[in-house]
């Protein structure tokens, strides 16, 4: 281990010369939030490609009725891993990547509160990914019980399921450490004068997300631990023969799972809340109520989990309670939507790529939110549960929601990260191509679900053929569109493009824009003073 000399002690002169490891070891050992943010974002993108490739295989198999490409069991593994990889490998790490890059810069902190632990939070992800993806290649095949891993099916599976369980444990540890870091950074390391209610909304959204993560990841760990002991040590948590109940797993899982979906969307809300005021050149409307809405969503998210279980045969009182509680979430979410619209109202808008993605987000997320509301209506959900309508719902909120927001966020901040402006033409092409392809791929799934196509099936009856074909075409188009994104990002990294000024966006107001572009390796070693 390198010895500590005082020039690595921040606050002791900016001309400090660093003898940091170089090459690969720089990335392996780094404690710098920008390096770690970069690694998170790349990891996320790679997982997006892996999960996307699985989705393409799923869509190809579903292009027409009959079994063409994969066997049913492998299909189930693909669905399972697609879900797990996209959620835990692509969306969550992307959000943490943004947090790492932006939070210290936005609150005027020198780095994250626990820089070394920050490194570990990231470096736990590759082993988890190895276990997850590796599970496909062990005897017995990968986990094939859906990303929800319901027992007793998941008790039947082979070694791949155990690897998945341990992967979930490791990812949970990573998320918990990451969240502790983020909360501590936000609570303790704000620049003088930056009160909580002056903090950029992106930081607020992450403060609340991190709280949700710390509250629910351990619960998921508990659930999969019980699954593990049921599988190998003869416990009966989920086995009626011993007095347990398979439905118990579902309760514990969704107690994690529902807050989890807000973990996926709240950071996206935060990014949108930065982009819209910047391009409307007008302060965010209703800052305080935006914060309260985030908090309200977070609190309500603990009370609605059983809306995923309307068909397990709950008592009437349970159905009513969980329906009402779920519907209530529309109120704070509505407040956010209205506030964004009001922010744009009488602004002076321009439509660069970040703004386009923000608008695409707003439009499509709202559709996804409304289908969520339809699903919240218990009697309707009884028809739609476990159909493609649900698949449509969650891709609207997660792909057109979270993912679009992250695309927007990348275009918004990449000038700051790389010092180079992105290629606006191509970025706009990426937007329009993604927008249209996304709807071609996922809108028909509503019809499929309504007409009665179950999810997680490798083959279907013939009346579902047309829409599946449309959907597959859209899915491939959507997937290919992402190469544009990759190209635009690589161009920025290679500095092929205009040099970015410190503040490329006229309407941007947050602290990171006071720094030069690209942001220096260490920033805010002396905290700025916020008035």
């Amino acid at each position: 281990m390198s010895s500590v000399t005082h020039d690595d002690v921040l606050g002791h002169g900016h001309d400090a010369h660093h003898h940091h490891p170089t090459g690969l070891m720089r990335w392996v050992t780094t404690t710098n939030h920008k390096d770690i943010g970069t690694m998170y974002l790349w990891f996320s993108f790679i997982m997006f490609l892996v999960g996307g490739t699985m989705a393409m295989t799923i869509r190809s198999e579903l292009f027409e009725p009959g079994l063409q490409i994969v066997q049913p069991e492998f299909f189930n593994s693909l669905t399972t891993l697609h879900g797990l990889i996209m959620i835990f490998g692509a969306i969550m790490p992307a959000a943490v990547g943004f947090a790492n890059w932006q939070i210290p810069m936005m609150i005027g902190a020198p780095d994250m509160a626990f820089a070394r632990m920050n490194n570990w939070s990231f470096w736990l992800l590759p082993p988890a990914a190895v276990l997850l993806i590796g599970s496909l290649f062990v005897p017995g095949g990968g986990a094939a019980g859906g990303w929800t891993m319901y027992p007793p099916l998941s008790v039947q599976l082979g070694m791949g399921m155990d690897m998945t369980i341990f992967a979930v444990h490791i990812m949970g540890a990573s998320s918990i450490m990451g969240s502790i870091n983020i909360i501590t950074t936000i609570l303790n390391m704000r620049a003088p004068g930056m009160t909580l209610m002056k903090m950029p909304l992106f930081c607020w959204s992450w403060l609340i997300t991190a709280y949700l993560l710390i509250a629910v990841m351990p619960v998921l760990a508990g659930a999969v631990t019980m699954l593990l002991t049921d599988r190998h040590f003869g416990t009966s948590f989920f086995n009626a023969a011993g007095g347990g109940d398979p439905v118990l797993f579902q309760h514990v899982f969704w107690f994690f799972g529902h807050p989890e979906v807000y973990i996926l969307i709240l950071p996206a809300f935060g990014i949108i809340s930065e982009i819209i005021p910047a391009f409307a050149r007008k302060p965010l409307f209703g800052y305080a109520s935006m914060v309260y809405a985030l908090a309200a969503i977070a609190i309500l998210s603990f009370l609605v989990w059983a809306h995923h279980m309307f068909t397990v045969g709950m008592p009437t009182a349970g159905l009513l309670f969980f329906m009402y509680a779920t519907m209530l979430i529309a109120v704070p979410t509505g407040v956010k939507v209205f506030n964004w619209v009001a922010t744009m109202w009488r602004g002076s808008m321009t439509f660069e790529a970040p703004m386009l993605f923000a608008l695409g987000f707003l439009f499509l997320f709202t559709i996804g939110g409304f289908t969520g509301l339809v699903l919240a209506i218990t009697p309707v959900d009884i028809q739609l549960q476990d159909t493609y309508y649900v698949v449509a719902h969650f891709h609207y909120v997660m792909v057109a929601g979270s993912l679009f927001a992250f695309f927007g966020g990348t275009y918004y901040w990449i000038p700051k990260w790389t010092g180079t402006m992105y290629d606006e033409k191509l970025a706009k092409l990426h937007f329009w191509s993604s927008l249209i392809a996304f709807n071609v791929a996922f809108f028909p799934m509503h019809f499929l679900g309504l007409a009665g196509m179950p999810r997680r099936i490798p083959d279907y009856s013939q009346q579902f053929t047309d829409w599946n074909m449309v959907s597959t075409v859209g899915a491939f188009w959507f997937g290919l569109s992402q190469f544009i994104f990759l190209y635009v990002v690589l161009k920025c990294i290679a500095h092929k493009g205009e040099k970015a000024p410190g503040k490329p966006w006229e309407g941007a107001t947050t602290l990171e824009w006071t720094l030069p572009s690209p942001a220096p390796y260490h920033t805010f070693e002396t905290p700025p003073v916020v008035k």
Partner: protein, 378 residues
């Protein structure tokens, strides 16, 4: 076709365009389905209406919100020279747009609650049927009448593997559909034997998870004679996609006739568990039972599948050992080995006898009589 569209004309052109694109016989494709199937029970009808009601409210809100937004996008852009205002707060509007959505939700929740109360009301049924899900078939038990049967996918494998043209009810056809009388309140008790399944008939508005070890109930009262098709709606392993639910709703007379036939057939086919079989006959029967139930895992050749941790039965110690131990495993299952309690004693005895005398196996206790199985049951 079971597909039924309600509402305006579906966009056939997309289907057509794709049919051409994929060079598929257009004849195989009809208008794409895009809403709930036509309901035939009161609950399904309520669900249908509720869905449309919620849907239209959402559409109206959507148009309202995005109408404002698009107006703003057109008028309040920099390129048309609009100057940004600087307001950023207004408590009144904030309260308004918190309260109004809340009120809208109340209007949604009210009819929904009424439907929930109705669909949970399983009291006073005219008949009761027990449905048990297995990997990958359904078992139907007519509790009052004392007969029952299994219902398995009838689509031939050749169609699934694209070696034969798919027929109209591809994947939605079974050997023995559930048969019920029209205009009768049927209470359905649902459970499962291995993993969670979900019994779903869209036209009835019934979807109920089948939880192993627990009994859940639901009900329906179909008011139209016909055949209604659904599928298992909970991932249950490899053949989850091949586990259809088919219900035939018959007129009351036809139903009475059908059920009388069933009872007669049942009496005729019943095996006396105390009958003493000779080994040849039992092995012959056992081969059928084995290939229908056990070969999926242990293989028809009895060689198992080492990768999936399925033991070979050829030369297996349990198979060659005392019969009691084997009966115990087959009856009760162990780890990955399912329990076969639900099979009749004679079938279990036959399968066991078959394993003990096949593929070169020559067990000491070669012949296992049904009575021995009966004795092991508790």
């Amino acid at each position: 076709m079971i597909r039924n569209c309600r509402g305006s004309a579906p966009p056939r052109f997309i289907g057509r365009a794709l049919a051409a694109l994929g060079a598929l016989p257009a004849a195989a494709l009809a208008a794409p389905a895009w809403n709930f199937q036509t309901p035939v029970t009161p609950i399904a009808r309520e669900q249908f209406d509720l869905h449309l009601y919620i849907f239209w409210i959402c559409v109206v809100i959507f148009i309202g919100v995005f109408g404002v937004l698009f107006y703003s996008l057109l008028k309040h852009r920099k390129s048309v020279g609009h100057q940004a205002a600087q307001f950023h707060e207004n408590t009144t509007v904030e309260v308004v747009w918190t309260v109004i959505p809340f009120l809208i939700l109340v209007f949604m929740a009210y009819p929904a609650s009424k439907t929930i109360l109705a669909l949970k009301d399983t009291s006073a049924p005219d008949m009761t049927i027990k449905v048990t899900g297995y990997q990958w078939k359904w078992n139907y038990d007519y509790i009052e009448d004392g007969f029952g049967f299994y219902s398995t996918l009838a689509t031939p494998f050749d169609q699934i593997e694209n070696r034969a043209p798919k027929d109209e009810n591809y994947l939605l056809e079974v050997d023995h559909p559930l048969v019920v009388p029209v205009d009768t309140k049927v209470r359905v008790l649902i459970t499962a034997g291995d993993v969670i399944h979900s019994w779903w008939v869209p036209a009835f508005g019934v979807k109920q998870d089948a939880i192993p070890g627990f009994v859940r109930d639901t009900w329906f009262k179909a008011d139209k004679v016909g055949t209604y098709r659904g599928q298992c709606a909970e991932l249950c392993g490899k053949d989850h996609g091949f586990m259809p639910v088919v219900v035939e709703v018959k007129s009351k007379d036809d139903y009475a006739k059908w059920s009388a036939e069933q009872k007669k057939a049942l009496a005729a086919a019943a095996d006396d568990p105390h009958k003493l079989w000779d080994q040849g006959a039992l092995v012959a029967r056992g081969e059928k039972v084995f290939n229908a139930n056990c070969a999926a895992c242990h293989q028809a050749s009895g060689t198992g599948n080492a990768a999936a941790k399925i033991p070979a039965l050829v030369g297996d110690a349990v198979v060659l050992g005392p019969a009691k131990a084997q009966i115990d495993i087959v009856l009760n299952g162990r780890n990955g080995m399912p329990s076969w309690k639900h099979l009749p004693d004679t079938d279990i005895a036959a399968a066991i006898t078959y394993t003990r005398n096949s593929w070169g196996n020559k067990a000491g206790e070669g012949l296992v009589q049904p009575a021995a199985v009966e004795a092991e049951r508790k």
